[in-house]
Amino acid sequence: MTAGNGPGADVFAPPPGERAFDDQHPPRQDLLDDCVHCGFCLTTCPTYVLWGEEMDSPRGRIHLVEQGAHGAPMSDSLVTHIDRCLGCMACVTSCPSGVQYDHILEPTRAQIERRYERDPGDRLLREAIFAMFPYPRRLRALRLPLLAYQRSGLQRLLRRSGVLQRLSPTLATMEAVAPPVQHARPAPSFVPAQGARRAVVGMLTGCVQREFFPHVNAATSRVLAAEGCDVVIPPTQQCCGALSMHTGRRAEAQRFARALVDAFEGSGVEYAVVNSAGCGSSMKEYAELLQDDPAYADRAAAFADRVRDVTEVLVELGPVAPRHPVPLAVAYHDACHLAHAQGVRTPPRELLDQIPGLELREINEAAVCCGSAGVWNLLNPEPANELGDRKAGNVLRTGADLLVTANPGCLLQISSALRRADKQVPTAHTVQVLDASIAGRGPESLLPA
């Protein structure tokens, strides 16, 4: 068997028509060459799990990109199958050859967004989503009507009728995953360390996290403080650009990235701590994102070096605050952007394991995405539901009292799937469990009243 760019490569003869990719950061040939076509990625790829076809596997997508790189036009097939990728990066974890699929996918998506004419409906949907999500203020504006809608009983009525499902799957998904709205208090800009100061860290508050899960941010700052961190929360921070970056909206992502670098610069923090997996993974990529910007390239790289998931920082520092028992069976769900994109699998488990009385349970098919994947569930509602149902089933089979994960999107997605199945498993972010343990609040605080 010959692999790599050896004899196998000649077969790509450039077909006629305009080439799929132009010279502005096309997917790199050397990265494409790393794929030896072994197929080890297949069974962890959520779309392959769903449809069992080559074009919707990482290996098949790389092949499609390779066709493009060899001069094939920007075909509907290429766009369709790249669009269908969740970007969960499970393939990066499972690849023995070290293919950097993430660095193949993102430039390809950027090329598609710049060069491919989407049909009007699809375009409109994408614009609508991106006019909303990355902007905390707009999300906040959405909260009030949502709150009214949820309280009115209309929500239960609509959910039961299934009418939304028939009208617009995307709208239905948006509605279904919408979290119960909570009263959000603005985060303080500084939380001092308890006891001796061991580090000064900056905290990202995020968009969805800030508006829909403010208590996760609060718990994060409390846990960090309890472990001896001065927590700086730069008030000017906005979206990190993750959603834009993961969907190929590179220019938009760059704008967000610059602003975030600015917001954290001069805050004097050792780490920029993130509690949302998707945000953390994109912030760690800022060096690449802003590499062509002479004013930001170095600063972005320096910033990216300091980005840590909250669990990484906590494990690095080691526990000082005493843990109180939380006697619960906990199923830990690996958020793709934490486990696959950032390779953070052990720290959250280690932290949960340190809690007395807590029993950690693994979820079957752990490597397969829950179907949330940023805004993928909004763009691909039906398959997202299938993946969500599959994940929910695996979660239920653990028999755990509580589902813990590190990403707001996953929590919303899995909860929505559980509701579809008429089941309920309380959910929490890893730091909320730690917070409950450190504060000695007991398991009740994590379970619904």
């Binding site: 010959t2 004899p7 000649d10 072994c38 080890f40 097939s77 023995p96 070290g98």
Partner: protein, 504 residues
């Protein structure tokens, strides 16, 4: 290597011009399956142009994603009627080009037929569709204390259908045998579209052991649409040892001593310095630093027996000069030891831009000699060879490393790879232990078998597939013209001619 061995089937073999028939076939398949499962679009078809062996590529004329047995049966029946060649493909992870498509044929993909139909621990059987992933059978049986024994390194992704076609082995086949020892019955679509069952749920089905011929026939005798497989009781104890040696010679000495003492480990795997380096880079498996070779020895069975065997194996390794022996005490440690071994092929991608995975077998006792000769071959040709192998049964997987961008490197690597196979044959071995002949090694078959041997094997082919439509061009370098019956006589009985009949 822009040429490939499986061009269009010569018209004199099929007796048919296939090109015009594919359109008609596509039309019928659409009517049967709808548009979504019938792929005609060029870009999509191209993603199916190779399996796990990317050196050969042929874009199939048509791809059909089969959902069930009936669809396979109908598509094959249409192929038979229209004279269109067909190739079955599971996960597309084979390493010999066994699922290399046919340019004027249809690729029938079974990756959507992935239902485990039954798991019966009392009968020690499972019934699965061909697209079911090997490891998923074990996952389904595990809660009952059973597992599916054949464990190719690709078990997390390869399908049972592909395993049946290739008679896949794995590290543990030293003790537990190959796919052929674990399949009791299959339902298959014969090349004329007839749905047939071979074997029974019980062992020793009466009649010819056609199942034994079909398993490992690389898709040339039809398409398996369901398999009844044996489940094996999970052993009471499993101990995995990792031993570091200074050299492959030392490790080989240990293997001989272990086998010679009458110990039958579940697996004995060897990796040399280069392959250890690659695995380390890929999966950080933490093998003993500075090892010139490692042995992975797994012992399983009743706890009382395993304990004794572990002691013996450790002694033999010590005596052969092992400088470090680790014993995995839990599943996580065991998994890490195996991870290094199982990812070894793809991992060499980390230490070399290009490589060829070879698969050959020698009698185990020839190991030291053959390794020395491979070393010399590599030196003489200026390539590097990493060695990974199933040391217990002499199945070598030399990985020939090269840089395709270097002038002449590809040719040298291919030459070395081919010479390794000749070395295997010289020592009375085989050109393939588990990857299959496929498209890759059909040309080597005449070096291992005589014309008469190949002709005799193809009698079976003629019985199943006289029109030569099922995965044509694989396994055999030249097709046999079926219907040619040398020695067949008709008319008067020869004894009558000889006058004998009158006398008696």
């Amino acid at each position: 290597m822009t040429t490939h061995p499986t061009g269009p089937v010569p018209a004199e073999v099929t007796g048919h011009d296939t090109a015009g028939s594919v359109q008609e076939l596509a039309r019928r398949c659409r009517a049967l399956l709808g548009d979504e499962a019938v792929i005609t679009d060029e870009a999509r078809r191209r993603t199916y142009e190779c399996d796990g062996l990317a050196a050969y590529t042929v874009v199939p004329a048509l791809v059909v994603l089969a959902a069930d047995t009936n669809i396979v049966r109908e598509v094959v029946a249409h192929c038979h009627e229209l004279g269109v060649p067909f190739v079955a493909r599971g996960s597309g992870t084979g390493l010999s080009g066994g699922a290399l498509p046919h340019a004027e044929g249809v690729l029938i993909v079974t990756s959507r037929m992935r239902e485990i139909l039954d798991v019966d621990p009392r009968a020690q059987r499972a019934v699965v569709q061909p697209g079911v992933i090997n490891l998923d059978v074990t996952a389904a049986a595990a809660p009952h204390g059973y597992y599916y024994a054949p464990d190719p390194s690709s078990q997390q992704i390869c399908s049972i259908g592909g395993n049946v076609a290739e008679n896949s082995g794995g590290a543990h086949c030293l003790k537990y045998g190959f796919t052929t020892n674990h399949v009791l019955s299959v339902q298959m679509v014969a090349p004329d579209g007839a749905l047939t069952r071979l074997g029974t749920t019980a062992p020793d089905a009466p009649g010819y052991d056609l199942l034994g011929a079909v398993v490992g026939s690389e898709g040339t005798l039809g398409i398996v649409t369901e398999a009844t497989v044996r489940l094996t009781r999970a052993p009471e104890a499993v101990v995995t040892l990792l031993a570091g040696f200074r050299s492959t010679d030392d490790a080989g000495t240990a293997v001989s001593a272990i086998i010679g003492a009458g110990v039958v480990p579940a697996a004995i795997e060897m990796m040399d310095r280069l392959s250890i380096e690659a695995a380390e880079k890929a999966v950080a498996c933490g093998y003993p630093a500075g090892a010139g070779a490692v042995l992975v020895v797994e012992l399983d069975g009743p706890a009382a027996e395993v304990e004794t065997q572990v002691g013996e194996v450790r002694e033999h390794c010590d005596a052969a000069g092992a400088f470090e022996i680790r014993q995995a005490v839990d599943d996580a440690q065991r998994a890490l030891i195996w991870k290094g071994r199982k990812s070894a092929f793809a991992a060499v991608g980390r230490i070399s831009p290009d490589y060829i995975v070879q698969d050959g077998v020698i009698p185990r006792t020839a190991l030291p000699e053959v390794l020395r000769r491979i070393d010399a071959l590599a030196r003489d040709n200026g390539v590097r060879v990493a060695n990974v192998f199933h040391a217990g049964d002499g199945n070598l997987h030399p990985l020939v490393l090269f840089d395709g961008s270097e002038e002449g490197a590809t040719e040298r690597a291919e030459d070395v790879s081919g010479q390794i196979l000749r070395l295997c044959l010289e020592h009375g071995g085989s050109i393939t232990g588990e990857h299959g002949v496929g498209a890759d090694k059909a040309a080597y078959m005449p070096q291992m078998f005589s014309d008469d041997d190949l002709d005799t094997m193809q009698l079976v082919r003629c019985a199943f597939d006289p029109r030569y439509l099922s995965n044509p061009g694989k396994v055999f370098p030249t097709p046999r013209l079926c219907g040619e019956r040398p020695g067949r006589r008709s008319g008067t009985h020869p004894l009558q001619d000889a006058g004998v009949a009158e006398i008696f």
